[in-house]
C-alpha cells in the first residue's frame, strides 16, 4: 500500500511526465505514471491514489472518458482530479474535476493547483 500522498500522473508525453514527476517529488509527493487512459482507469481502481493529474488529450480513450470512469465507479468517485490541457477552459465547464492546468505551466501553477486539492497538512509547505 502506498502512502496517501501518492499521485497518479496520466500523460502520454514522457518528457512532460518526467517534468511533472520531478515537480511532484520536489513537493514531497510520490507519483506513478501511466501513459494511456485505459491504464489509468485500471490503476485508479486497483490502487486508488490521492490525486490524479490527467492529461485530457490522450491517445485511445481520452481524458473525458477517464474522468467518467473514475466518477462512475463508487470506489473511485471521490478521488480528486486535476486536468492538464492545452485547451481553453471554455469547453471544460462540465468536467467534474477539481483543477485545471494549462500547458505549459509553471512550477508555481502546479504547486498552487495541488495545494488547492490536497489538504494543506499533506503538502509540505
Amino acid at each position: 500500500m502506498r502512502s496517501a500522498r501518492h499521485v497518479l500522473v496520466v500523460e502520454d508525453d514522457p518528457d512532460i511526465a518526467e517534468l511533472i514527476s520531478r515537480r511532484l517529488r520536489s513537493l514531497g509527493l510520490c507519483s506513478s505514471h501511466v501513459s494511456t487512459g485505459e491504464a489509468a482507469i485500471l490503476v485508479v481502481r486497483g490502487d486508488p491514489p490521492a490525486l490524479v493529474l490527467l492529461d485530457l488529450l490522450l491517445p485511445g480513450i481520452n481524458g473525458w472518458d477517464v474522468v467518467d470512469a473514475i466518477r462512475s465507479d463508487p470506489s473511485t468517485a471521490g478521488i480528486p482530479v486535476v486536468v492538464t490541457t492545452m485547451l481553453d477552459r471554455d469547453g471544460l465547464e462540465h468536467l467534474d474535476v477539481q483543477g485545471f492546468l494549462v500547458k505549459p505551466f509553471r512550477a508555481l501553477d502546479l504547486e498552487r493547483a495541488i495545494a488547492r486539492v490536497l489538504t494543506p497538512p499533506e503538502v509540505p509547505a
Binding site: I16, W64, D65, R89, H94
Partner: protein
C-alpha cells in the same frame, strides 16, 4: 257471332285488355241489337202477315156468326113464312135475298183471305146455293121449306135454295174451319214468336258461352300471368332469373314482364358489381400490410385478415366469432375499446392510439391502432388497423438510451475531433508539447532544482527561457487567430478595470524590455473607470501592441501607455517613437500576416498576426481601433472600448484564472 280477337304468337304483344273489353262490349251491343231486330222482325212479320190474316179470319168468323144469326133469323122468318105457308112467297123471297146478300158477303170477305178457306167457303156457298136449289126443289116437292134461289156469287152457278140444315152443317163446318184456320194462323204466329224467342235465347246462350270462353281466356291472359309475375318478383328478390309468363298474357302484363326483366338485369348487374367490389375489398384487406380487424358492437370478431394472423398469432378460423377482449385486448386497449364504443355513440368515429396488445403466445405486441366505426344494416361495427410498431418502439427506446448515454461522449468527441482535425490546433498542440518540456526543464534549471547556476549559466538559461516564452506566445497568437477566424473566440465580457489590464500587460512584456533601453510611460485614468471587457483578451491586445511598440522602437525611444475615458468609451492608447509605417500600408496593417515594408526592412521578427488579433478582439468588444503612423517618427494605436452598461463597477467574483503562461 262476334269473336274476341286472336292473340299473336310473340311475347311483345298480347291481347290488350282494352281491346278485349271493347270487343266484349261490341258483342253485347250486337247481341242486344240482334235481339231487338229479331223482335222487331217477328212483330213486323206477324203484323204484316199473320195479323191481317187473323183479322181477316176473325172478321170472317164474325161474318159467319152474323150469317148464322141472319140465317136463324131468316129461318125464323122462313119458319114463320112456312108456318104461314099459306102465306106469301114474297116473305121467303125476302128471306132468300137476305141469305143471298149474306153469302155474298162471305165470298167477298173470304176472297181476300186464305185460299183454302175461301175455296171451302166458296164451296160452301156454292153448296149452299145447291142447297138452295135442292131446298127449293124440296120445297117444290112439298117437303121442307127451302130457300129461295138467290142470286149466285159472281161466277158461280145459280144455286137452288139449299136446305137449311145442310146450310147449317156447312156453316158449322166452315165456322170450324175458320176457327181452325184462325187457330192455325195463330199457332203459326206463335211459332214465329217462339222461333224468335228461340233465336234470341240461342244468341244469349252463345253470347254467354262466348263470354265464359273469354273469361277463361282472360284468366289465362291475366290471372296466371299475374301470379307468374308475382313469382318473378320473388325470383328477383331472391336473386335468380325471373320466370317467364305465358305468351297468351295481356299486352300490359307482357310489358310489365319486360320491365321486370330489365329490373332483374340491372339488379343483377348491381349485385355483380357489388360482389366484385367486395371481392376486391376482401383481397385488399387480405393482402394489406396492416392488420385489419372488424368486430360487432359486442366485440365479436367479424373480420380478421392475413396480416392480423401474422401479427397476433390467431388464425382466421380461430378468431372469427370470438370476443376480441379474450383474443388480444389487455389493459389499455380494452379501455380504449370501451371508449371507442362510447365515442361512436357520441358521433366521434375515428382515433389513433398507441397500445399494447397480446399475441396468442402471451407476449406483448406494441401497435399503433387506428380505430373507426361503421354502420352496416343498422348495426354498428368497430374497425381497426393495427400497425406493428414494436420494432420502432424498441428502436426508439434504444435510441433514446443510447442518445442519453452517448450525448456527452459525442460532445466530447466532437470537441476532441474538432481539435484534432484542426491543423492549427494540431500544430499548436504538437508545438506546445515540446515547448512545455522546454519551458518546464528550463524552469527547473533556473529555479535551482538541478543545483545552483553560475551567473553565466543563469544568463544563458534566461535567454533560453525568454525565447521559449516568445515561441509560446507565437503559438498562442496562431491559435487565437485561427479561433478568431473560425468565430470561436469566446469573449467573456465583464466590467473590468482597464488600468489593471494595462498593468498585467506591462508585466507580461517586461522581460522583452530587459536588454533594451526603452522608456515606458504609463498615464492611467485616475478614476479607473470600468469598461465591459474580457480582461484576458484585452491583455492580449495590449501585449501585442506593446510587443509591436517594443519591436519597432529603437533603443533610446519611448513607449507610452495611456488610458482615459472618452466620449464613446474607455480609450487605450499605445504610442511609440518607432520606425512607423508608410501611409499606403496602414490600411492593410490589420490583415493577417501582413508585415509592413519597414518591418521587413528592419528584419524585425514577427508573424504579422499581432494586429489582426488585436482588431478581431476589439471588434468582438464592439470597440474600435485606429492607427496613426509616420515613418521614422512613430506609431500611435488607439483602442476604444464601450463603457460598462452596468454603471458602477460591480465586484465580480474573481474567476479562477487559468494558470496561463505569462511572460
Amino acid at each position: 257471332m262476334p269473336h274476341t280477337g286472336g292473340t299473336d304468337a310473340d311475347r311483345g304483344s298480347g291481347v290488350s285488355l282494352a281491346s278485349l273489353i271493347t270487343r266484349s262490349w261490341a258483342a253485347a251491343v250486337c247481341l242486344v241489337a240482334c235481339c231487338i231486330a229479331i223482335n222487331v222482325a217477328s212483330f213486323e212479320l206477324q203484323r204484316a202477315t199473320f195479323g191481317p190474316r187473323v183479322d181477316h179470319l176473325s172478321d170472317a168468323r164474325t161474318a159467319l156468326a152474323e150469317s148464322l144469326v141472319a140465317r136463324r133469323a131468316e129461318r125464323r122468318d122462313l119458319g114463320l113464312a112456312s108456318s104461314a105457308r099459306s102465306g106469301t112467297y114474297a116473305a121467303s123471297a125476302g128471306a132468300e135475298a137476305a141469305v143471298a146478300s149474306s153469302d155474298e158477303k162471305y165470298v167477298t170477305l173470304l176472297a181476300a183471305g186464305d185460299g183454302a178457306i175461301a175455296r171451302t167457303v166458296a164451296e160452301t156457298v156454292s153448296s149452299a146455293g145447291a142447297w138452295s136449289t135442292s131446298a127449293s126443289g124440296a120445297a117444290g116437292r112439298g117437303g121442307r121449306p127451302g130457300f129461295a134461289g138467290r142470286s149466285a156469287a159472281p161466277g158461280s152457278s145459280q144455286p137452288a135454295a139449299p136446305s137449311f140444315a145442310r146450310y147449317r152443317e156447312l156453316e158449322t163446318r166452315l165456322a170450324g174451319q175458320l176457327s181452325a184456320a184462325i187457330d192455325a194462323v195463330r199457332a203459326r204466329r206463335g211459332t214465329v214468336t217462339a222461333a224468335a224467342a228461340a233465336i234470341e235465347a240461342a244468341l244469349v246462350l252463345l253470347f254467354g258461352a262466348g263470354a265464359l270462353w273469354q273469361l277463361r281466356r282472360m284468366r289465362r291472359a291475366v290471372v296466371q300471368p299475374v301470379n307468374q309475375l308475382l313469382g318473378a318478383i320473388d325470383d328477383i328478390a331472391r336473386g335468380v332469373a325471373p320466370r317467364q309468363i305465358g305468351v297468351t298474357a295481356l299486352a300490359e302484363l307482357v310489358q310489365l314482364q319486360v320491365g321486370l326483366g330489365h329490373m332483374a338485369e340491372s339488379r343483377e348487374a348491381a349485385a355483380s358489381q357489388l360482389r366484385t367490389t367486395e371481392e376486391q375489398l376482401h383481397r385488399i384487406m387480405e393482402t394489406a400490410s396492416e392488420a385489419y380487424i372488424c368486430t360487432d358492437a359486442n366485440g365479436s370478431v367479424l373480420r380478421w385478415n392475413g396480416e392480423a394472423v401474422q401479427l397476433l398469432g390467431w388464425t382466421a378460423e380461430e378468431a372469427l366469432g370470438e370476443p376480441i377482449r379474450r383474443l388480444i385486448l389487455s389493459g389499455s386497449l380494452r379501455d380504449d375499446f370501451e371508449r371507442c364504443v362510447r365515442m361512436s355513440a357520441e358521433g366521434r368515429p375515428r382515433r389513433r392510439i398507441d397500445a399494447v396488445v397480446k399475441h396468442r403466445d402471451g407476449s406483448d405486441v406494441e401497435v399503433e391502432a387506428t380505430l373507426w366505426t361503421t354502420e352496416h344494416r343498422g348495426k354498428t361495427l368497430f374497425n381497426a388497423f393495427l400497425h406493428d410498431v414494436s420494432r420502432r418502439r424498441q428502436a426508439e427506446r434504444d435510441l433514446r438510451l443510447a442518445y442519453e448515454r452517448q450525448r456527452e461522449a459525442a460532445d466530447r468527441l466532437r470537441e476532441v475531433d474538432k481539435i484534432r482535425n484542426e491543423f492549427v490546433y494540431t500544430v499548436s498542440h504538437e508545438l506546445r508539447t515540446p515547448l512545455t518540456s522546454i519551458i518546464g526543464y528550463i524552469d527547473m534549471l533556473s529555479d535551482g532544482s538541478a543545483g545552483p547556476l553560475s551567473d553565466d549559466q543563469a544568463q544563458l538559461v534566461a535567454v533560453a527561457e525568454r525565447n521559449s516564452r516568445r515561441l509560446l506566445r507565437l503559438i498562442e497568437d496562431l491559435l487565437a487567430l485561427s479561433r478568431i477566424e473560425e468565430g470561436n473566440l469566446r469573449i467573456d465580457m465583464r466590467p473590468c478595470s482597464l488600468n489593471q489590464v494595462v498593468e498585467s500587460a506591462r508585466e507580461a512584456i517586461a522581460p522583452s524590455l530587459d536588454a533594451r533601453h526603452i522608456e515606458v510611460r504609463l498615464e492611467l485614468d485616475p478614476l479607473d473607470t470600468n469598461a465591459d471587457l474580457d480582461a484576458r483578451q484585452i491583455e492580449r491586445v495590449l501585449v501585442n501592441l506593446l510587443s509591436n511598440a517594443v519591436k519597432f522602437t529603437a533603443d533610446g525611444g519611448s513607449i507610452s501607455l495611456r488610458t482615459a475615458p472618452g466620449a464613446a468609451g474607455m480609450e487605450l492608447t499605445v504610442a511609440d517613437t518607432g520606425i512607423g509605417i508608410p501611409l499606403e500600408e496602414q490600411r492593410d496593417l490589420f490583415q493577417p500576416f501582413f508585415r509592413s515594408s519597414t518591418a521587413r526592412a528592419s528584419a524585425v521578427q514577427g508573424t504579422g498576426l499581432g494586429l489582426s488579433i488585436v482588431k478581431s478582439i476589439v471588434n468582438a468588444h464592439r470597440g474600435t481601433v485606429a492607427l496613426e503612423s509616420t515613418p521614422g517618427v512613430g506609431t500611435t494605436v488607439k483602442v476604444c472600448l464601450p463603457y460598462s452598461e452596468r454603471g458602477s463597477a460591480t465586484d465580480s467574483e474573481p474567476e479562477e484564472r487559468l494558470q496561463e503562461e505569462v511572460a
